[in-house]
Symmetry: C2
Subunit: 330 residues, 2 copies
């Protein structure tokens, strides 16, 4: 049954859901009000379920692993390149070493491969690493250029007949996929979804600087998580995490922390050109798991993806499609 579907939100979740729905024959419109603070626009582009897998988040891990398996086909259909970077989680102090041992055991218990590496082994993989105390190699993680992805998704949507509009239209089904802003679009989401601000920096190698890392490099420095995600000629450095409402300012303190922490892990960052500073809002949820379900007849939510919006896009879009096919309408 062909339905009129309006997707509210032009980020990676909304566009992916719209694209899948349009290819399934539905008449789809996307309500898109671009924001410089959109979570998928500001994202680092890691597709890394494993190194996000801390004890207690097993459901998110399972969903992430399922979605990661969908990514190669998803990217191929979109004509988007994936970088098979793998992740190096490195330890910068003694406490980290213990945490990595725990993570390694936790992953083994879940049947996931990870390899403890000495500092010497890490340096063989990434000569630019700083004074680290060994780490963990997690194969299989991917990375994607999030902005190239958004462009490709818009093109794919347009090619599949999706219309873009800036105001909501009457529809058989409305899909609320507006990231953190979803909380203002339905009473049921009001207490569930909250903005979790994150700041990122984009850096480019200057002539004579060390080439960018080839792996995604992650660490905790002074209790703060930091990651470097390779891009052609540079990398994305992220991410701070604040619960501060919708204040989209990039703070001096956030930039200071990111640069300081990155330099501990990868000292060559100092010679890089800082080409962008940005803040975005992740859609936080109480259990860090996304909300993809009917809210009421004719209204579907696809939000709450927190740090994992890019990773979970294909599995979320597939789930939305299933819900539309079932026509449950709540």
């Amino acid at each position: 049954m062909v339905q009129r579907v309006t997707v509210v939100g032009g980020g990676v979740i909304g566009l992916s859901a719209a694209w899948f729905a349009a290819r399934d024959g539905h008449a789809v419109a996307v309500v898109d009000r671009p924001s410089p603070h959109g979570g998928s626009w500001v994202a680092g582009g890691m597709l890394a379920p494993i190194t996000e897998a801390w004890p207690g988040d097993e459901d998110v891990l399972r969903l992430g692993v399922e979605s990661l398996a969908l990514w190669p086909g998803f990217a191929r259909d979109l004509g988007v390149d994936l970088s098979p970077v793998g992740t190096l989680q490195v330890a910068v102090d003694r406490a980290d070493v213990e945490v990595l041992d725990q993570l390694c055991a936790h992953l083994a218990g879940l049947g996931r491969t990870s390899t403890r590496l000495s500092t010497r082994e890490l340096r063989a993989l990434e000569p630019g690493l700083g004074n680290v105390r060994g780490g963990l190699s997690v194969p299989g993680d991917l990375a994607v250029d999030n902005r190239a992805l958004l462009r490709a998704l818009r093109d794919a949507c347009a090619a599949a007949g999706v219309r873009f509009t800036d105001a909501r239209e009457p529809a058989d089904v409305t899909v609320i996929a507006a990231g953190a802003w979803s909380r203002d679009l339905h009473p049921a989401l009001r207490t569930v979804i909250r903005p979790v601000k994150g700041e990122i920096l984009r850096l480019e190698a200057r002539p004579g600087a060390l080439p960018p890392p080839r792996h995604t490099i992650r660490a905790h420095v002074s209790g703060r998580p930091v990651y470097l995600v390779p891009r052609t000629g540079g990398f994305v450095l992220g991410a701070t995490q604040y619960e501060a409402g919708f204040d989209g300012a990039v703070t001096a303190g956030g930039v200071r922390d990111l640069l300081r922490d990155a330099e501990v892990v990868w000292p060559g960052v100092a010679e890089y050109a800082l080409v962008e500073i940005a803040a975005g809002f992740r859609a936080g949820s109480p259990d860090n798991a996304p909300v993809v379900d009917w809210l009421e007849p004719g209204v579907l939510a696809a939000t709450g993806h927190h740090r994992n919006g890019l990773l979970l896009a294909p599995v979320t879009a597939r789930r939305v499609l299933t819900l539309l096919r079932e026509g449950g309408n709540g």
Copy 2:
């Protein structure tokens, strides 16, 4: 005698000279190719000859003091606001305390007033100061919003009949006032003028943050000079200094140093929004003094102002006018 004058350069020196020349009855054109790296566009806006006055630079000090005296009238004619900020030069370690004692004595020897202040006295003036070891209060320094100034100068030029063009035109007199780029515009400047790169940050107070400082605050931290120049609702933080040709990249290391050093002096900076990062080129000269003179018949230079382009604009424009009136043509 009315002359056709072409001014090459649309920064503060070129515009000031063009404005003065047009008001004096000359037919003036400004060749303007705006760059995001122009020295006066990126500047902090300090008009502070005294705290730039280190032993050996007495000529620059004399010229700076002369120009500072012209500034109130210059600003009034342009309709630009001046902030009578005064400067607090603060000490952050024991070595600084000695340097400030020397500077105080040096200034007294030149007949200039400055007052040594205890940390307590400094904090009474600027409650946001960090863990400093006293300082020096230098009255009389001014600050100007450099971008408002550039807009006002363009308007004043236009009102005085100056034409703006993007290509050089035949003229009786050509004034080379292209800042660091002047070196490429005349053989005599090639070995004299060099680009001295500087990076600055612009910060704005977020709700709940400490109000910006009311004085210009200067210090040396780990041997690096740092200044905070008040703006409405924020301040400009500068400046790094590199001899690195015309590489206009803002480096991660430069931003790191500026934020780190500012935080020593004024810890509240961390809560500010970082709204701009920029790099510009000062026009360096061998003796830090500007080159304002005939290079050959019909060709006049007004460049080499290094860190003092804004400060020296009125005295430079006045000197250019004198040279035009004398009609020396070399």
